[in-house]
Point group: C2
Chain length 336, copies 2
């Protein structure tokens, strides 16, 4: 394997596939011992983890659909492409293990942007001990696309699913919501904006640690991540579990900076927090008599979590605002 | 999960993500018992196979780069997207197990084409007992893209790699080569063409069975697939193994119809067979004293294989044509 050249060519089309792969490899952590065959053969070969189930997911970020290169720095693109997958693993209670990286690159993509993208991805991978074991590079005649497959492992009894909520279960959400939606609005109007909301949009922190703790703790009855927004998450858990939910508007943990931004710009902060995507928090349900167990989570330095409502027998998902109940709309979701 | 609607909407943009997923699910074989959580949660959960290594690979097919929708029917697009991955698994000696399907769809894609694509993919999956355990759907503002991750399993001692060839080892190739290159030329000039070469291009048969037998048989020292052409395969094995190769032009198993087509059209049949991609055959090397073991393969109804040359100490990859030796060019391969 050739070392990456020391000068930076102007665009990826100046490099061979092999040189691009070398640039990726030079940015990755050393191979773990369970990796039998890594990058450079027809496929990767690895040892599965004993006595664990394997959790696998794939997600794509497409330029012009999921990000705008005018205001998303390369490192943020790489970070987000992996984060969305780690968030899915977290929502299942899994510990991340490996990733495959499939990139479709417009020939004019500057090499420095390619490097930046891989740097952003590699930094997040290192922090969560995810190893990039292989992938694919192809030319794109259109948008830049990053398609990442990620896998993790989990004990059978600690798998978190969407379908286990029962009437009476309490509904919780980790961290704070709404910041990513505010950050995206801010960036769209001012590409050079930088504040806590912008950071939350550009560098979302997948709740891997929290998902693991919630799974191990065994208090939760259902869990999913909020990549498509809280409203979507609530509806999906409700549907998979055959319950309804009543969510208390006053309890929603709105990010303070996001609330200020929406208030200042005449926006409906709660509405944005419900429907805005890109908050990589987890929503989960737990039986009231097991909620005590959740307190242990606070001892582990994970982000706080907040009770926001309760599961109901009636199968509507509603928002209680003072004395008024209004349905939380799911919307007709086109594929995106 | 809703059943697929009985009438066909005109394009995929008329459907929600959920409806598209239902259309995929209705085309898949029932879930295997090792699948703990299938389509419909944040991620799929499965039991790894005991005492086996896991082999994983990802490959993308991009419209305008890897296929042309003007002359590639939807079923062939779906078939080829999975075939290229199964071929990678075959080259490692692995038995296919699961796949993840990530699609980026232009909104104008006709629904009938979407269905046809999935039908083509599902038929090949069923034949090789590969289960689609999940995936991702997204809109594409540009080309249609199919990104497939596939995984299989293999015993540790039966893994086939590229780096094990030694000087004196014989070089073999399965089946016949050149047909896909001829088929592609034919289709490009006449989109309605149909003959054996066209079929080989549109519906390549990954050599899964042969890869498994070659791995189990333990005669082979190196193996890879020919998705990027024989010349590429020879060079990569030579490089990974630190050997050269002398290939005998007279021994190359050129597809008869392809040879006829290239001869009739003033083309260099051997040149095309060497550099044309899309032949999903396997090239492998074996020690001369173990070649006897390979004969057992013939008993198993797999495609024939042909000795085409020998590995050498000198690290050149050359084609012997009569008494003339000429280097087989590798070319400067841009990412594609």
């Amino acid at each position: 394997m050739k070392p990456a050249p020391s000068t930076t060519p102007s665009s990826v089309v100046d490099l061979s596939e092999r040189e691009l792969v070398a640039r990726i490899q030079s940015r990755l952590a050393p191979s773990p011992d369970w990796l039998v065959v890594g990058i450079g053969d027809d496929a990767a070969v690895l040892e599965p983890e004993r006595n664990k189930l394997e959790v696998i997911t794939v997600d794509a970020l497409v330029e012009g659909v999921h990000f705008d290169r005018r205001f998303t720095p390369p490192a943020a693109i790489g970070h987000r492409a992996l984060a969305v997958n780690l968030s899915d693993l977290a929502a299942m209670g899994a510990e991340p293990r490996w990733a495959l990286l499939s990139l479709a690159l417009p020939p004019a993509l500057p090499c420095a942007d390619f490097d930046g993208m891989i740097d952003g991805l590699a930094a997040l991978a290192r922090r969560h001990r995810v190893h990039v074991v292989g992938g694919n590079l192809t030319r794109s005649p259109g948008p830049l696309m990053l398609d990442i497959t990620a896998a993790g492992s989990v004990k059978r009894r600690q798998v978190l699913q969407r379908g286990g909520a029962r009437p009476g279960d309490l509904v919780f959400v980790t961290g704070a919501i709404g910041a990513a939606a505010a950050g995206l609005q801010l960036l769209s109007s001012d590409p050079s904006a930088s504040d806590s909301c912008v950071s939350r949009y550009l560098q979302p922190e997948p709740r891997v640690r929290e998902g693991l703790l919630i799974g191990r703790n065994r208090a939760a009855t259902a869990c999913m991540d909020l990549s498509d927004g809280l409203a979507d998450g609530l509806h999906r858990i409700a549907e998979a579990s055959g319950v309804g939910m009543t969510i208390d508007a006053d309890l929603l943990p709105l990010d303070q900076a996001a609330r200020a931004w929406f208030d200042a710009h005449g926006g409906d902060a709660i509405g944005h927090a419900l429907t805005g995507g890109d908050d990589y928090e987890l929503v989960f349900t737990a039986r009231p008599n097991r909620v005590g167990r959740l307190k242990a989570l606070r001892l582990h330095g994970s982000v706080p979590f907040t009770k926001i409502g309760v599961c109901t027998e009636t199968r509507n998902v509603t928002l209680r605002n003072g004395n008024v109940d209004a349905p939380i709309s799911h919307g007709y979701k086109h594929f995106h």
